[in-house]
Symmetry: C2
Amino acid sequence: MDPETDAGRNPTMLDVAREAGVSRALVSIIMRGAPGASERTRAHVKEVAARLGYVPDARAQALRRQGNAAIGVAFQPDQPFHAALIDAIYESARRADHPVILSAVTPGHDEERAVASLVGQRCGAVITLGSRLDRDVLEATARRIPVVVVARTVEAVGVDTVVSDDAGGLGAAVAHLASLGHTRIAFAQSAESGGNPERLSGYLGAMDDLGLAPDVVAGGSRIEGGAEAARTLLAREGLPTAVVCFNDAAAAGMQDVLTRAGVRVPVDVSIVGIDDSETASLSYRQLTSIRQDPVALARAAAARAAQRIASPGLDRFTAVIPTSLVVRTSTGPRVPDAPEAPQP
Amino acid sequence: MDPETDAGRNPTMLDVAREAGVSRALVSIIMRGAPGASERTRAHVKEVAARLGYVPDARAQALRRQGNAAIGVAFQPDQPFHAALIDAIYESARRADHPVILSAVTPGHDEERAVASLVGQRCGAVITLGSRLDRDVLEATARRIPVVVVARTVEAVGVDTVVSDDAGGLGAAVAHLASLGHTRIAFAQSAESGGNPERLSGYLGAMDDLGLAPDVVAGGSRIEGGAEAARTLLAREGLPTAVVCFNDAAAAGMQDVLTRAGVRVPVDVSIVGIDDSETASLSYRQLTSIRQDPVALARAAAARAAQRIASPGLDRFTAVIPTSLVVRTSTGPRVPDAPEAPQP
DNA sequence: TTGTAGGCGTTATCAC
DNA sequence: GTGATAACGCCTACAA
């Protein structure tokens, strides 16, 4: 178009300044909305910038800028729950005027690499969603850069954590089932390494409080967990009348396998999931679920990250976000003498 | 630790150079593995860098570096299929020595913003996964920066596309069902804006080729699509003997609603999904599914992005990645006189 | 209200 | 094999 400027190159501040007949500094002031320019020149320069298709170079900005370091986020793209967290982190960070840099954790791009890339970008803090890093790796990272772990409880020096109140959630779920008359309440546990210690102990504690005998049944792989637990239950003498599953996917698998076996939900067995995901709210599922609050989790994490950026050297910090029980139709009153379901 | 260097600051190349007793330039050469340093100094400098915890500043690198522009990726974190794509993009990009910059598309961070942030980072090319941008927005973006759209067919000037062979996949699915004796083969269509034109037309074409009457049933929202289509079918006089659904989630909903209504899969109705996701392979589902090849899709997209970075001004390009039919037990031979399922 | 000088941390191009 | 020096594009002071 303009023979003066070589076509291929991205326009720079200098191009805008020249074209508008002002100095570079003034363009800078105007582009980032700082005070120190008249309305008239402001409008003019912005018009020129738009006409030239000028977009500030984020890399140069980040390099020079002092405050407003970026918040790095390591997440798992195969975890739908992380989507809601990311969305909320974007919003919180933008409000505090911190750029967000994402790094995915996948089979070929492990969490150490993801975090390393965030460090390389000179993020002011790193939020890792559902981190699976070892404690010592987390601690080593935290010595370099503030680290906030979301949705996993870890005791690591200098590492902040933001978690849901799993114990409270499990307590509410068990209490809900007990109030419906259930006494044989099982817990389907994940078979993953470590499982969910907080969820399990929350269940055990709640059962103990009510004087009920716990019944923990181990599930299988992440994706098959609920189905396998269901098969384990079906192979037994008698079924429990209620089952709490380690997440919604597992609850769905439990529901599906039981249903296909002719067991009626909730007449024969009540089911509770965790997460209150889209799966739980499906019209034909209607799973009662322990809801995590992704917005509150993300806000707490982003706020903490911003705090750490502003003032390093704070004490270790843990936020526990309340959960709530979303009651749907997968739980119902215990039916003492429910007739056996017909075997198709 | 070292009183000479102020503790809080990240070590820079200069720190490493001073500590190792060499020049900045030499450190640069060594850190990026360029020729021009003896093995001895190389080892020494690397040791010093490691000891100081030196990590190159990716922002400064990107700013100064000429080639190896980054590949920007706009993705949807709530789409599990994108996880596999991202993983493969990371690998391809690393092989070609291009950094990857991610930007999520979420309710609060729309695709335009995501792409704009990628442009601001001066990516050399942008890959958008399942883009929903209007044609003219895509074209405007493509005038600034090479754009590769993955998993959505668009006819936009200057925009490259990489898509799965939906028509071929649907053809294979319909042929598979026809070979099992099915003639009443329905297609459950997404109710989303636009739906999946290629999948629908692939179905229609395949039915036409076989001289069969098409039967398109509209689904509901993204998440409820399959379930609603199933209810529509159940409300009719007679069921088709086979249904192809617009994706696996829909197929799962179809299967669940039909199963709960006492319709046996595959005895009464065969079901085919699309994507071959984890859902499809669940032990109790075993959905026959049209498999998309995420690795091939991602590789093609990354390769094209790298090509565009190396030499802009290429012609528009479209890659069609083959699909394959994964046959499981949700499809079976047509049973002409199957007895009605018992109504529980 | 505007312009000038200096620097962020790196890479690239030179001479030595 | 090594060491100055000039960019990259922008921001932050400070001077006019």
